[in-house]
Amino acid sequence: MNAPFQPEQMSLDRLAVGTRARVCSINWASLDEAEACRLRHFGFDEGVTVEPLHLGPFGRDPIAIRVGRMTVAIRRAHAGAIHVQPIR
């Protein structure tokens, strides 16, 4: 068996559909105030589990993401501000 694999951090827009991940950090400074506020409203926060579910048909944008018990759609550009670590 291989040694326990510690997956590396990546931005949420690069996470594959169907992969669960934990939010490590969110670069709030790169978002404008209303956008940051909306992300918080959706429950995005450090430590929360997220999972990309669907991708938009054109340019794989926006991304539908499960966060907590909710499914929300955000653009790829905003997902780039969220850093995650895949679970297993």
Partner: protein
Amino acid sequence: MNPLPLVAVAGSPNAGKSALFNALTGARQKVGNYPGVTVERHSGRLTLADGRPVEMVDLPGAYSLEPASPDEAVTRDVLLGKQAGEREPDALVIVLDASNLDNHLRFALQLIELGLPTIIALNMVDLAKRDGLELDSQRLAAELRVPVIETVAVRRRGISELQAALDDMLSAPFCGVHKHVKSDLVHLQRRAREIATAAVVSETPVRRWTHRLDGVLLHPVIGPIILALIMFVMFQAVFAWSQLPVSWIADAVAWLSNTVSAALPAGLLRSMVVDGVIAGVGAVITFLPQILILFFFILLLEGTGYMVRAAFLMDKLMHGVGLSGRAFIPLLSSFACAVPGIMATRTIDDPKDRLTTILVAPLMTCSARLPVYTLIIAAFIPNRQLVWGVGLQGVVMFGLYIIGITGALLAALVLRRGVLKGSGGGFMMELPKYQWPPLKDVAIGILTRAQIFLKRAGTIILGTTIILWALASVPEAGSGQKQSEVSIAGHIATGIEKVVKPIGFNHDISLALLPAMAAREVAVSAIATVYSIDSPDERAGAQKLQDNLHRRWSLATALAFLAWFVFAPQCISTIAVTRRETNGWRWPLFMVTYLFALAYLAAGATYWIAVAAGLGGT
């Protein structure tokens, strides 16, 4: 006079707030499923057990008291007693989605902090069960220290219990302190998660319906195809399903016209009733079935939660022209009517995004254009089947919608590069669970539309029709003269004709354009009235009107007329709502100018091309 106690219904979007409000008050209100369907103030009355009336107000859905949209700002201001035209609420009903507690509780915690007497409606407990979630509402009540009632608003379950709790609460003397503690969202969110976890009795993972459906409906290839099919079926249905009821109404109008003609002596009164009122209003009422079918589809798409998926699929394309997927919902609503569409833009956070959406919304083919399109298409486009189930007339209609959509996207692109330059706002939306909307709520929505339409027919359309009849009837034409030319209306039309002649518009159209400013469908009643006055011996009826058009207009003129109506801003209500939503005359004037210019160019281009193609003869 002491005002009634005011109870505000608040909650996050998609908690089923509007459905609960409907169940409590029986008010006629649209029930939707996407964030922000409630953008207007909706109020209703509730009678307590002891007979005391209470006023209920349904606040726009919000995620917290820190607004991220104008919509949420209204909610905050009402709750803090800062909203103009609204008194401070005396009590609060907070609606929570039982299967989304960890998110919705955050807003609830913030609301409870306000210190108002509060009840929590733990809504959609049935859907939570379906998802394998068992909750302990007693535990929740203990944690939050407010009463919690389990409800399923769309099935009216738990409503009487909620009423009883309201009754108790409003009977108790209240002398709390109203305060707003500006809380730290992150802290609230963590507390919300703790409480939610405590309230969950058991959770069995089940395969969620919504996820499976989304696998198909949001599929990168199948999803857009299904969206296109839904739109196509919707517009075909508007034509196909309406044929029978339309013919009934047309027969009834013809019968009424003949009966009244026989009963009244020849003269001014008979002319006014038969040529003015019955011919004019009758021609418009004929289109009621089509308008209702269109609204049926839109209400169904909203109610099931599909509308947000459509926004998801369309976002990238909308982004390409400087709009967001959020604009898709107001724009799709504008297919029914631009007025609610423009009001629905309040859910768009970015001001420039919002203004662009408002300015292009009138290009979406609203239901008031249907009478005009239908009449012209029926008169000039042969009723031929292209392939089984797809008629040529339906395809032309679909084409007109496509031209409107394309025009809107191009206009948005130009506006975003020019007067409304700036970076686009984002696209962040919740995808609610799919749900079959209660048919009663859909029926209420359709009935409300029917009432509004008939009221318009009875007021604006009736009024303009009578005025037009009067202007078209005096002075009376001598022998050999045409009434539509020597009358006052005829002279006005002759003036307008000078401007619109180059784009192929004849005297009849010129006559119809002015009253059609009141509402587009008046164009149909105006033409019907004019022909009826010109040849009083003929009996009214849709068939007669079509024959007349066919005789008097060339195909090129008819096509130019259609092109005109794709773009022309002929609707006072739209202009008025734009003024209200943009706080001034600047943008409505801009809108009217660019749309008239587009209409003139489009009609002109259509006419010149059609004439060159040899379609200029009658």
